[in-house]
């Protein structure tokens, strides 16, 4: 990896890196990790008078000042007063916009010729993932800094507590396609009151009650999982009469009703009113549009002021990935509940929703698609689907399902025996590397008989 020693030295001597130590003062980043991080950073040189960024602009980068000095100005709306601060070599600037996605809170101008390292969003995600303790240490660092700056900022209420920062980290990692399983290091030791309400709401929900291990009956969602979900989900207060969504609208959120009451209405195409239903606290709703990408099948309205947890596609995909048994339990739960709703309306037509979508197998397919959409995974039948199939299917269709698992995508055999020389090489083959790399593997020339593994 080509990393200039200058960049590496600048990174090593920065405030940020000096902060990245464990309790005993040992650096968290190995030299290899530093090189990896450095290779993701952009080297910038700016001359005096140039503006690095302006207050109110959008910005997704933070900067490490390597050399020189910058001056920051926070202007206050409606007054001519402002606050000025200076930052010098080694210091970090602009990290809040990177974390929050909110506009810059200050205008930063270069005072003397300055060299900087730009930390982009992917670079920051890379940093978070380099060592399990980094999110914790950085959250403390950033929240301390923000607390110190809070007095100068207008939206001091938004000043970030440690947990809020950790939540941002979590979302940042998810948005950069790091899987939930690859960052168990983010542990919410304490939670905000909002998170606590979401956790309590999740625990009281039908969803949580249904997501239990078949064998032991224990909940599949552990406390840490609930906290991680709470960090991503939104809590929404809804006034009486307010509409969550209307039939026919597109929709990408699902909801869990914590308190209050929600009423649903389904109309036929000719607008003739065909049915209504009530949802009580604990109910899950709106998940079908999230899963299928189809429009809402009902109009949902708060009958009294209510509180809901809003789950995005990302959060929902995260939920599915927490435990291998969750997809199946969830599919069964959704299928069973939706079926009873649809059946109760059947004599008055079943709206647009085809009953086919309510088959657990079909739902599992939707789950797969969702995970693929969100995490960009190579879709394959998950463990739970197989368990499910084995419980309902005949031996013959089971065999073919399992066989297909190992015969599709990149498990599929290739048909041609070829020789090709002068292959394209990215990088350079070391001259000392002389020999043949060989790998054996299955590659049936004809469709197999019986069970295939």
């Amino acid at each position: 990896m080509d990393v200039s020693p200058v960049v590496l030295a600048a990174l090593e001597s920065s405030d940020l890196c000096r902060r990245l130590v464990d309790e005993s003062g040992q650096p968290l980043l190995t030299s290899a990790a530093l090189v990896r991080l450095a290779s993701n950073l952009q080297w910038l040189e700016r001359s005096g008078g140039e503006v690095l960024f302006r207050q109110g602009e959008n910005g997704q980068s933070a900067y490490i000042l390597v050399q020189g000095e910058v001056e920051g100005t926070i202007a206050y709306a409606g007054t001519s007063s402002s606050k000025v601060f200076r930052l010098g070599a080694g210091e970090l600037v602009g990290e809040m916009s990177l974390l929050t996605g909110l506009p810059r809170t200050a205008t930063v101008t270069i005072t003397t010729a300055t060299k900087l390292l730009e930390i982009s969003t992917p670079a920051f995600a890379c940093l978070l993932a380099l060592h399990p303790q980094i999110p914790e240490v950085l959250a403390t660092f950033v929240s301390e800094r923000e607390a110190a700056n809070a007095a100068d900022l207008e939206n001091a209420a938004e000043a970030c507590g440690r947990n809020t920062v950790l939540t941002k980290f979590l979302n940042l990692l998810l948005s950069q396609n790091y899987m939930p399983k690859s960052f168990p290091q983010i542990v919410f030791k304490s939670s905000t009151s909002t998170q606590q309400r979401i956790v309590a709401g999740l625990q009281a929900s039908e969803l949580y009650k249904q997501l239990r291990s078949c064998a032991t009956g224990h909940p599949l969602l552990k406390n840490a999982d609930l906290l991680n979900l709470a960090a991503q989900a939104r809590l929404r207060q809804v006034r009486r009469g307010e509409i969550f969504f209307r039939q026919g609208e597109p929709g990408t959120s699902a909801y869990i009703l914590i308190s209050g009451e929600v009423e649903g209405q389904i109309k036929k195409a000719d607008s003739r009113h065909i049915g209504e239903f009530q949802l009580q606290a604990g109910a899950l709703f709106g998940e079908m549009s999230l899963l299928t990408g189809q429009s809402r099948v009902a109009t949902l309205r708060a009958v009294q002021s209510s509180e809901v947890i809003e789950l995005s596609e990302l959060t929902f995909a995260h939920l599915l990935a927490i435990h291998p048994d969750i997809p199946l339990r969830l599919a069964e739960f959704i299928a069973q509940r939706q079926r009873s709703e649809i059946l109760s309306l059947e004599d008055r037509s079943a709206g647009d929703r085809s009953v086919q979508d309510l088959n657990p197998e079909r739902l599992l397919q939707h789950f797969q698609n969702l995970s693929q959409r969100v995490f960009g995974l190579y879709a394959r039948v998950p463990h739970s689907v197989l368990t499910y199939l084995s419980s309902i299917k005949s031996e013959k269709s089971l065999s073919s399902t399992v066989a297909n698992l190992y015969l599709t995508n990149n498990f599929a055999p290739v048909r041609h025996e070829i020789d090709r020389d002068n292959l394209v090489v990215i990088g350079r083959l070391p001259p000392e590397l002389t020999g043949m790399f060989l790998r054996n593997g299955p590659n049936p020339q004809f469709p197999p008989l019986g069970r295939y593994h």
């Binding site: 463990h383 090709r420 083959l429 790998r439 019986g450």
Partner: protein
């Protein structure tokens, strides 16, 4: 099928060939499959005189200037190197018959090849295992029977300078179950996991058994001896351990064992991770310590260290969210002295196979060299051979050789260096 990349003078050539087994040729003639896989009832009518088709698809070994394609249920197939054309089935000049392990061990000093052999179809009653050694010239210099209380699938074993370690895990072979339409392999946690340690040239009388609660090891990384006059000599074994396995029958998971409450339904119980066992030959005590909790499999080492103390282990990081079976989304290098690991992240929707370590030169240090593995990009649907600097996995790849056709996910890899066959 064998997929090879020949690297010479800074250039690369790709070549893939079927292993043309007897069953392959018969099926090719009629244009369809004749024999089902081993989870099914064998063809008791013996078409072409064959009960079970030898697929020779698990691994490759280079020994005595011969390249063999291996499959533990049947015997090896001899391949021409480097054309990869199949020469035919190979019985070591009639010295060995029946199955042959897919993981023979070659002693880096003596050049001896140690192997196991067992027969799936005879495994109706007690297990019977053959353990043998070929000299570096391919002469059978040791062959002995080892008694097992139960017939088990035994995929791998380990050697030290002076000892051999047999893994008797409770993955039971029950061929009779196939008759009832059930799978012939079952992990049964009512039996312990046993480790048999015998001197390299020992036999069933000199074997010493160590027992631990049931767990599964498919692949070992290495084993070595630690001598201590005070604490007693120890054998250290490194391998990938899981509390349970369903690897060959993902569809037969949960079921009975869960109902009996003998398995815990937790994230951990399916996970396979690197573990260290210490067998004290003086006190008979065993210590099992996890090296790490990262789910990994296909552990490999610098093969010049086989049976000797090793500092590094390389492995593939299992993609747990894509159970039931493993592909890898990262290459892991463990430094056992520092207690640290490095992961080469393959990135979004890129998956790799087994990585093989190639030393820079005969005299270079243990991690000086390269790690080679096939990578498949599931989005671009393109395969490549990835070459990493084994000293720094976090660095960008040394080279990526783009391959002219897709290489399906497969089993084990090997490296045949040029000077050895010249």
């Amino acid at each position: 099928m064998v997929h090879g990349v020949l690297i010479e003078d800074g250039k690369a050539l790709y070549r893939n060939r079927y292993v043309r087994t007897a069953g392959f040729l018969a099926e090719q003639q009629v244009g369809k499959a004749i024999w089902p896989g081993i989870l099914n009832l064998p063809r008791f009518d013996y078409p072409h005189g064959i009960l079970i088709k030898n697929v020779a698809n698990t691994s490759l070994v280079w020994h005595n200037r011969k390249l063999l394609a291996l499959w533990e249920v049947g015997g090896p197939y001899l391949m021409d190197f480097p054309s990869l054309n199949t020469i035919g089935s190979y019985s070591f000049d009639q010295q060995v018959s029946g199955g042959f392990t897919a993981h023979p061990k070659i002693d880096p000093d003596t050049g001896e090849m140690l192997f196991l052999s067992y027969s799936v179809m005879d495994a109706v009653g007690n297990g019977d295992l053959q353990y043998g050694i070929f000299s570096s010239e391919g002469k059978l210099i040791h062959l002995t029977s080892i008694e097992l209380p139960r017939a088990v699938m035994m995929h791998d074993f380990a050697i030290t300078k002076n000892y051999t370690i047999i893994l008797d895990m409770p993955l039971l072979l029950r061929p009779a179950k196939v008759m009832r339409g059930e799978a012939p392999l079952e992990f049964d946690p009512q039996y312990p996991s046993r480790f048999g340690i015998l001197p390299r040239y020992g036999d069933n009388r000199s074997i010493r058994w160590f027992e631990v609660p049931p767990s599964m090891i498919f692949h070992t990384a290495n084993a070595y001896e630690v001598c201590s006059a005070t604490a007693g000599d120890e054998i250290v074994l490194l391998g990938c351990r899981s509390p349970y396995t369903n690897v060959l029958q993902p569809h037969c998971d949960s079921g009975e064992l869960f109902d009996r409450g003998e398995l815990y339904d937790s994230d951990e119980f399916r996970a396979t991770s690197l573990c260290r066992w210490r067998f004290n030959l003086a006190s008979g005590r065993i210590r099992v310590d996890p090296v790490d909790d990262l789910p990994v499999e296909f552990p490999r080492i610098d093969e010049r260290r086989l049976g000797r103390y090793n500092r590094y282990v390389d492995a593939g990081r299992l993609v747990n969210y894509m159970l039931p079976h493993g592909t890898f989304d990262g290459v892991v290098k463990y430094d056992l002295e520092q207690g640290t690991r490095q992961v080469h992240e393959l990135g979004r929707a890129r998956f790799c196979g087994e990585a093989v370590f190639v030393p820079r030169s005969d005299s270079s240090n243990e991690d000086q060299g390269w790690l080679l593995t096939y990578v498949h990009d599931a989005v671009l649907r393109r395969s490549e051979l990835l070459i990493l600097d084994a000293e720094d996995l976090m660095a960008d790849p040394v080279a990526r050789i783009l391959l002219p056709q897709r290489v399906p996910y497969g089993f084990h890899s090997t490296w045949v260096s040029r000077p050895r066959h010249c």
